[in-house]
Symmetry: C2
Subunit: 358 residues, 2 copies
């Protein structure tokens, strides 16, 4: 069994761990390697729960930071093993997981080994099952079994953010908007009531909807309200009695669950609305002193994070949290997923600069 | 093996043949019984093609009428064997096939045996696979192998028409109206283009559409334009790149295929429209002398037929054709399918009055 060499460059470490497939539910091999590699480091106290590995420095500092990254990926689609590619003169590592988010994990692993005496205590977390149902997420399990591990003054998630600091995240809600009608033979449509026709105002309101931009603690969050699925119909000669539109609402972290719910029900007044999923966002938390020092040290311009990430989990616990990792989030899950080598190096340097400065 | 007793009443014959299941593709047992029963009748010349039976009188009359009925049914749903039921003081035979259209076939079988010397020559046709794809229809096959059997001056389909004469039938067209967009993560919807939102005007036009009523040869045909299915979406967090609306257009028999096509494309101007199915209707043909005599003899008030039936097949061959059978078409395919006994008797008397009068 190969071992992970944490003294390799973060770029080489990225290649190595991307070439060890770890699609959600198949993380054990990579988790074993990480566990083995960090267990030999005397400055870290290591805890394992399933395929989630936690490694903590000794607790002599006044403040503690959680730095976390998930080790699973979405399914591979002919894009493992990785390849080195050049695009428009820039060098990339191409392949599944390079962006989301093994380059970030590689940087974290390297620094976990290297920084034996950081300026703040660090709780490193490498976890499983982030790309699937939240119920399965390694952090959900850990929060239930070892909640004290989440205690910290600040948290950094290594999610891809183009090497910039992306603060907080939008909330995420999915609802089903439903119309009902009465079935009839389509040769005698006037006997029935067409549920698909009744859905016309739902699509009209979505199409006319202008999403808001909302400033939260200095960052502007762009919201979104989108149909992601529509379904209706029985047969080619039957007037349909049901039409369902699944709508995804992405809402600013300044709104709580009740406000998000109210807003969606306002938009769809007159229609039956069922919530199927709801996760509030995370405030950027950039007003925390530690966050400001971090942003200054890494030399980044904070931006809002639009997608929902596990920062919300920390935010809900009162721990300010940001996303900071190499890779363009637009390429996450993409078959052409690839991370610029320069961004891996920049994030490594940024984190090192902040964590090692006393 | 039981034999069919064609001297029984048409009501008893209805019970008997409904209790012999003959869902499309499983008509052989019933076809065998019909074949056996009519083959012994000396006044009929019998021809069989698969499960379609044709029985013709001798050809001494100046005019010939086709009288046809399909022997298959839609699937049984706990409604065979038949039962005698009373609803609001009226006596019915309840069960699959009673309306669509074994009561009509029972009347035809009885009269085929009884009328040894009718006033016009008769070509009786009992055929398979009407309830499924037109390709499989017994008449499609017969028209290919024995087209001369369709030669006639008038045709009567025993399709349920509440014991009234329903002239011709509407045409039937199905199209897919399609919108395309660009996929994106729904957290960054502005990168993509939502194909479901783009379908808003399709539903709006359908919802606002007022179907026309068109008089053809004295009968008023009611048209209809209806979404029968809608489908779009990739996943709960992806902006959809495709939405398809399946639209069913029922159009008056005065319109040909080109006109129907033009009308649908006009309604959906600006959208991609694909025809998936198109069958023109049938003019009522009630101006034919034979048709007028028939209507007068059976004492019925002609009405338009809205659903597409095999009358269109005869109409396309230049043979005026009407629907005349017991049973309410609204109860066809219904789990509560049931035929009023009085209508079976009335249709039997109507047909006998006309066919036996010299």
């Amino acid at each position: 069994m190969p071992t992970l060499d944490l003294s390799a460059t973060s770029v080489d470490l990225t290649r190595t761990i991307c070439d060890i497939p770890s699609v959600s539910d198949d993380e054990t091999r990579l988790a074993d390697l990480i566990h083995e590699a960090v267990s030999v480091l005397p400055h870290l106290e290591v805890y394992r729960d399933g395929d989630t590995i936690v490694a903590r420095t000794n607790g002599r500092r006044a403040q503690r930071v959680v730095i976390a990254g998930h080790i699973d990926t979405v399914p591979i689609n002919g894009n493992v093993p990785t390849r080195d590619v050049q695009v428009d003169g820039e060098s990339y590592i191409w392949g599944r997981g390079t962006v989301d988010m093994k380059a970030g994990v590689a940087v974290q692993l390297k620094l976990a080994a290297e920084l034996t005496d950081p300026r703040v205590d660090i709780t490193w977390m490498w976890y499983d099952h982030e790309e699937v149902d939240a119920d399965l997420n390694g952090l959900t399990r850990l929060a239930a079994t070892r909640p004290e591990l989440f205690s910290a003054d600040f948290a950094i998630l290594g999610e891809p953010s183009n090497g910039q600091v992306e603060g907080g995240c939008n909330g995420n809600m999915r609802v089903i908007v439903r119309t009902r009608g009465v079935r009839a033979h389509s040769a005698r449509a006037w006997i029935g009531e067409n549920a698909i026709h009744s859905a016309a105002p739902i699509l009209a309101r979505l199409s006319e909807y202008r999403p808001r931009e909302i400033e939260v603690e200095g960052l502007v969050y762009r919201e979104g309200l989108n149909a992601v699925r529509i379904n209706g119909g029985v047969a080619g000669n039957v007037i349909p009695d049901l039409c369902e539109v699944e709508v995804n609402y992405r809402f600013a972290p300044s709104r709580d669950a009740a406000e998000a719910d109210r807003h969606v029900r306002d938009v769809f007044t007159g229609f039956d609305v069922d919530i199927v999923d709801l996760a509030v966002g995370a405030r950027p938390g950039l007003d925390a002193a530690l966050a400001q020092e971090f942003v200054a040290a890494v030399g980044a311009e904070p931006r809002p994070k639009y997608g929902w990430t596990d920062v919300a989990r920390f935010s809900a616990l009162g721990v300010p949290a940001v996303n900071y990792g190499p890779g363009d989030p637009h390429l996450a899950h993409h078959d052409e997923e690839r991370v610029p080598i320069a961004q891996i190096e920049a994030v490594e340097q940024g984190l090192r600069a902040w964590l090692s400065g006393h």
